[in-house]
């Protein structure tokens, strides 16, 4: 039943896409399309959640599509139900947001047809149960999102973004293609069921692991395969950026989880090494990149990279524990990872919506040209603040819960018997802690520079609050951030079936624990209660406020800023995004990004302003991507001469081929 609903929702979305091609130009198109998308994803979400909360036994079906002799297998089990929920939650929110935001779209005909197709693609990936269907949906998802990235194609940057995105997407797909080729074997058992029954040998499984890391990792944005992500996500319209960052990366995580936890059979302990290492590196690199940005949407995109790192740390730990049959710990780690996936999709969508609202209000993505928006658009500011707090892992919001769980999982790792892990895991923990702290710093910057202070440009000064529907979408997600934060037990229990079937055990039932607090292992060991913390803070805060206002003064006077007595100067004297990041840039950037600051001081008496130029270099692009591009260029350069030979020379090529083949024959045994 659930399966039928889910797949029919996907079908509906495809139909909507076709419809959008037809009615794209009419003014009614925008509300119609997004409305339908909202409906479809809401239904699908409901179906997924009911399936997850009810006893989720896998449901399978086969459609007469796809590979002729195989058919298109679709299946819904705990894992896919959970990710289906994540996908459709994000999709619903995005559609709601787009109902308002989409009205400002300049090129609706380039967005409307592909948006539903994108949603459908993501839904289908989660539902697919054979290699062909999976890859078709996977690449279909990439393709439609590529089209959305190209929506504003007149901007050369977007062109480049789309190009890099498409290449990386095809690269990832090809890697997955190879992985499934290994799993399916020479006589093509492409159905997941067949693969489950015949798990590969350990050597092959290692190859599968690498290919899956490349394939799913490039889509999820694991360093060093993240290069496309910060280009493509900001280029798309904001509701799409939210989907790509918040949801599509989760679909990639799903792909990885599906392969590594389900298809390849029982893991070996060292599989977790690359996953953990990449996860840790990704988390820190992502946030450091983000700190160097002053384009708001790009900053958010880089934070997606960071959070993907955190999620992969969770998955890697789960693999390690699972390899040693420490089921409880594996369940904890897996739950932590998946819960963080859910949390991230919530607050990252929220943040991208906020960025979109700013974009419509000011037409600016560059933080250096914003500021003081909290006065002009207070509601958006509040929602964005909630998002920032959540992603910075501040209690009592949801980001903290999943990171806390991840820490708890790390604290279980000394029981792992293998040396490599015992040395790696604490390091990864340190990286995780570092990335969390840096994330907080980065979002102080993001919110402070954008919304606080004084407007840096006229457009920022004349911004206006965004429309109701967008606000509704944002407040919905903001509320969700709080709910996920103060009653995580519910969601952990919802994730139990996933852990049960893929980690071998489930975390202790949280529903029983009083005061809604969560206890990963045992109460004496560790526990956390978001609700109480929240109540505590509210109570003590209000207590203090009321007490002070009643007993002491509540008088207030507005005056120019004190600023150590300096006269009120122009907004230009405020800290800018890059100046805010300067200390951290000096600490981390000098080595990592070879950051150089050149200050040009005009001689005394010269009225010219002093200039400070900061040069940052992207180590990964320079060491990995640039050389490859260079090599291809070199080869083409040299091969291209073959286009300009004379006929005689072409003939001699033929002649040479003939002689060589004859020689082969002559020397044939």
């Amino acid at each position: 039943m659930t399966l039928i609903i889910a797949s029919s929702c996907a079908a509906v979305l495809l139909a909507v896409a076709a419809l959008a091609v037809g009615i794209g130009r009419s003014p009614a198109a925008t509300p119609t399309v997004y409305g339908l998308c909202l409906g479809a994803s809401a239904v699908s979400l409901a179906a997924a959640v009911t399936h997850l909360l009810g006893t989720p036994t896998p449901i399978e079906a086969t459609l007469p599509l796809g590979l002729p002799w195989l058919g298109a297998h679709v299946r819904i089990d705990a894992l896919s139900a959970f990710f289906l929920a994540v996908v459709d939650l994000g999709a619903g929110a995005a559609s709601l947001f787009a109902l308002g935001y989409g009205r400002h779209e300049l090129a609706p005909t380039r967005v409307l047809p592909f948006y539903p197709a994108f949603l459908a693609g993501m839904n289908l990936v989660v539902l697919a149960d054979d290699a062909f269907t999976f890859l078709v949906s996977w690449e279909f998802m990439s393709l439609s999102s590529w089209a959305l990235v190209m929506a504003h194609h007149r901007d050369p940057d977007n062109l480049r973004a789309g190009y890099v995105y498409l290449i990386m997407a095809s690269f990832g797909t090809l890697a997955l293609l190879l992985a499934f080729g290994l799993l399916a074997g020479p006589d093509g058992g492409y159905a997941f069921a067949a693969i489950r029954n015949a798990p590969p040998s350990s050597a092959l499984a290692a190859l599968v692991l690498i290919l899956a890391l490349i394939g799913a990792g490039s889509k999820a944005g694991l360093v060093p395969l993240h290069a496309w992500l910060p280009l493509a996500h900001p280029a798309a319209p904001s509701q799409v950026s939210a989907l790509m960052s918040g949801v599509m990366t989760k679909v990639a995580v799903y792909g990885f989880a599906r392969i590594m936890f389900d298809l390849v059979g029982s893991p070996a302990w060292w599989w977790s090494l690359p996953v953990l290492a990449l996860g840790g590196v990704t988390a820190v690199m992502g946030v450091l990149y983000a700190l160097m940005q002053h384009d708001l949407k790009r900053l958010l995109a880089y934070h997606t990279v960071e959070n993907i790192g955190i999620i992969f740390i969770g998955l890697g730990l789960a693999l390690a524990f699972k390899a040693y049959h420490m089921s409880l710990a594996a369940a904890l780690a897996l739950t932590a990872g998946l819960l963080h996936a859910l949390n991230h999709s919530v607050f990252k969508s929220l943040l991208f919506f906020g960025a979109g609202a700013l974009l419509t209000a000011t037409g600016e993505r560059d933080m250096e040209r914003l500021g003081g928006l909290i006065h002009r658009m207070p509601q958006t500011a509040f929602m964005f603040l909630v998002g920032c707090a959540a992603i910075s892992a501040l209690p009592p919001l949801n980001g903290f819960v999943s990171e806390w769980l991840t820490f708890q999982a790390i604290l279980l790792s000394p029981q792992l018997p293998s040396w490599g892990l015992t040395l790696l895991v604490p390091t990864v923990g340190a990286l995780l802690a570092l990335s969390a702290a840096l994330a907080a710093a980065c979002f102080v910057k993001a919110f402070g520079i954008t919304f606080l202070g004084r407007p840096r440009t006229p457009v920022a000064a004349k911004a206006h609050e965004t429309d109701r529907l967008s606000l509704a979408a944002m407040s919905f997600l903001a509320a969700l951030c709080l709910v996920l934060g103060i009653m995580p037990g519910v969601f952990i229990d919802a994730l139990a079936p996933v852990a049960q079937s893929f980690a071998g055990a489930r975390m202790p039932v949280q529903a029983g624990v009083d005061w809604l607090s969560i206890v990963p292992i045992a109460e004496s060991r560790s526990s956390y209660n978001g609700l109480l913390v929240f109540l505590f803070m509210v109570i003590s805060g209000t207590l203090a406020a009321s007490a002070i206002h009643r007993l002491a003064s509540d008088r207030l006077r507005r005056a120019p800023a004190w600023d150590c007595g300096y006269p009120d100067s122009s907004p230009a004297t405020q800290y800018s995004a890059s100046s805010f990041a300067q200390p951290i840039r000096r600490v981390f950037g000098t080595v990592l990004f070879r950051a150089r600051e050149h200050a040009q001081m005009p001689p005394p008496g010269d009225p010219r302003p002093a200039r400070l130029t900061v040069v940052l270099r992207d180590p990964i692009w320079e060491t990995l991507y640039a050389p490859i591009a260079g090599a291809v260029g070199w080869v083409t350069e040299h091969l291209n001469r073959l286009q300009f030979l004379t006929i005689r020379q072409f003939l001699s090529l033929v002649f040479a081929a003939l002689v060589i083949l004859l020689l082969v024959l002559a020397l044939w045994p």
């Binding site: 590979l67 002799w69 078709v136 498409l166 095809s170 080729g181 080869v635 286009q643 090529l653 003939l658």
Partner: protein, 479 residues
């Protein structure tokens, strides 16, 4: 008298060619061209139901049946496209009416030659047919009488002739190999008998024969390093001919190659033809993929992409096995549909822009939405991205290969990726960004293009069981 479809699909084009050679005037001739092509297609469809028994000269089996239908179908759609295309050429005066007559006659003659080559049950006849096809296309490539056109035609002609010569030598050798077993005379050149007795042939002779046939027909297929004629011929000839060349003639030559491969496969002692084809396929794929980057002429670029795909197909057949062969056949079909559709789009684009130089095109999706998006669709399809048909074949090739020959699969994947990167690099410039270059309106005929795309799309997600059954039979035949 009873109706013989086999004769019909040969006679209709032949008669049409004769008629068109004498009839003047644009309107009627173009219409007649379309009608004749359609009639041929209709008759070819009837082959699915009534299949005549093989004779000494002609025969139909699962393998060529599909190809005949495909050829006649693409021939028909192309004739529709060429009607609108040629009208524009006449209006702009690039073609004169005398050449028009010539053009239509040659078109039908080409159809005749290809049908003959496909239906031939006799290696000699097949050779003659392919030579005929080559000569007609040579003449059509040179039809614009520009320096470049003549030069392309000349190059095509010389290389083609050498290819023909080599192919003939191979054919003679096959006969020599067959004669001691089958006996002198025509029987020793008849497919059906050859296939029946291939096991007893002299392996050494067969080997040499296959080398010559591979190079001879491989020149027609455009496998590197025998490809030299192909890009220029595509670039300089009229676009309908480029469509037919890429979509059909390459297939026909490959079909001939496959026949002989089957022959060798049937003989246990002969060298396995697979490795040779795999090698040439990979060389063509990687080479063409790299060559795609520096192309400035849009038609030449897609010509190279044809080489690339011929490489993939040759690779698939070289790998052999039910999956790979199935993939190869599917890829052949999908490629000819897609590539001809792309050339339909490109033809109109070149007319709208008044040039074939990519540098003078840009933002087509903004200026000519249908053409632009058509091209995007085509490139997406040809790049092997789902949900279009080529993805299925590439999926099968790559997955089935990687489990058997990982390294080959890696090369294959690398080649494909490089090609995709190149194609989209150019697509970005052509279809997106700020509009560039002249922007004339064209009375384009979009129907053939989108019909092809529709077929490719459907095949990508759903294939009719009958077709699958055919392909699987053939895949078994190919071993």
């Amino acid at each position: 008298m009873n109706f013989d479809p086999l004769a019909a699909i040969l006679l209709i084009p032949a008669l049409a060619a004769a008629l068109l050679a004498v009839l003047p005037g644009y309107g009627p001739t173009a219409r007649l061209n379309v009608v004749a092509a359609f009639a041929t297609f209709a008759v070819a469809l009837s082959l699915f139901v009534t299949r005549p028994s093989p004779g000494l000269y002609l025969h139909v089996d699962d393998l060529n049946n599909v190809f005949i239908v495909l050829t006649t179908f693409v021939g028909f759609t192309t004739s529709v496209f060429s009607a609108s295309y040629i009208r524009h050429e006449l209006e702009t005066g690039r073609l004169t009416s005398t050449f028009l007559r010539f053009y239509h006659a040659m078109y039908q003659l080409l159809m005749f030659a290809m049908n003959l080559a496909l239906t031939a049950n006799n290696i000699g006849l097949m050779w003659v047919a392919i030579e005929l096809a080559t000569l007609t296309t040579v003449l059509m490539v040179g039809i614009y009488r520009t320096h470049e056109a003549l030069e392309a035609a000349w190059k095509y002609f010389i290389l083609g002739s050498v290819g023909i010569a080599l192919a003939l030598f191979g054919t003679i050798l096959v006969y020599m190999a067959a004669r001691p077993v089958i006996g002198e005379g025509l029987d020793a050149m008849v497919w059906t008998t050859l296939a029946a007795r291939a096991a007893d042939f002299d392996p050494a002779l067969l080997n040499v024969a296959f080398v010559f046939l591979l190079l001879g027909y491989g020149t027609k297929v455009g496998l590197a390093p025998l490809h030299a004629w192909l890009p220029d011929a595509h670039a300089e000839g009229p676009t309908p001919i480029s469509a037919v060349l890429s979509g059909l003639l390459l297939n026909v030559a490959l079909y001939a190659l496959l026949r002989f491969k089957m022959l060798l496969a049937l003989n246990p002692k002969a060298v396995a033809p697979g490795p040779l084809m795999v090698t040439m396929g990979l060389i063509s794929l990687v080479f063409a993929a790299f060559m795609l980057y520096r192309r400035r002429d849009i038609k030449r670029m897609f010509a190279y992409s044809s080489i690339e795909h011929m490489g993939i197909i040759a690779f698939a057949f070289g790998m052999g096995g039910p999956l790979a062969n199935f993939a190869g056949l599917l890829h052949m079909t999908m490629h000819s549909l897609t590539k001809s559709a792309i050339f339909f789009a490109v033809g109109h684009i070149a007319q709208a822009k008044g040039t074939q130089q990519i540098a003078h095109m840009g933002g087509l999706t903004a200026t000519h939405p249908l053409l632009g998006w058509g091209l995007v669709l085509g490139v997406v399809a040809i790049a092997g991205l789902p949900p279009l048909g080529l993805f299925m074949s590439e999926f099968l090739v790559v997955t089935s290969t990687f489990a058997r020959e990982p390294w080959l699969a890696l090369v294959l994947v690398a080649g494909i990726l490089i090609g995709v990167a190149a194609l989209f690099l150019r697509l970005n410039a052509i279809a997106f960004g700020e509009p560039r270059g002249a922007c004339a309106e064209t009375k384009a005929s979009y129907v053939p293009m989108f019909v092809h795309f529709a077929l490719v799309f459907v095949a990508g997600i759903y294939m009719p069981p009958a077709l699958v059954a055919w392909f699987q039979n053939v895949a078994k035949l190919l071993g």
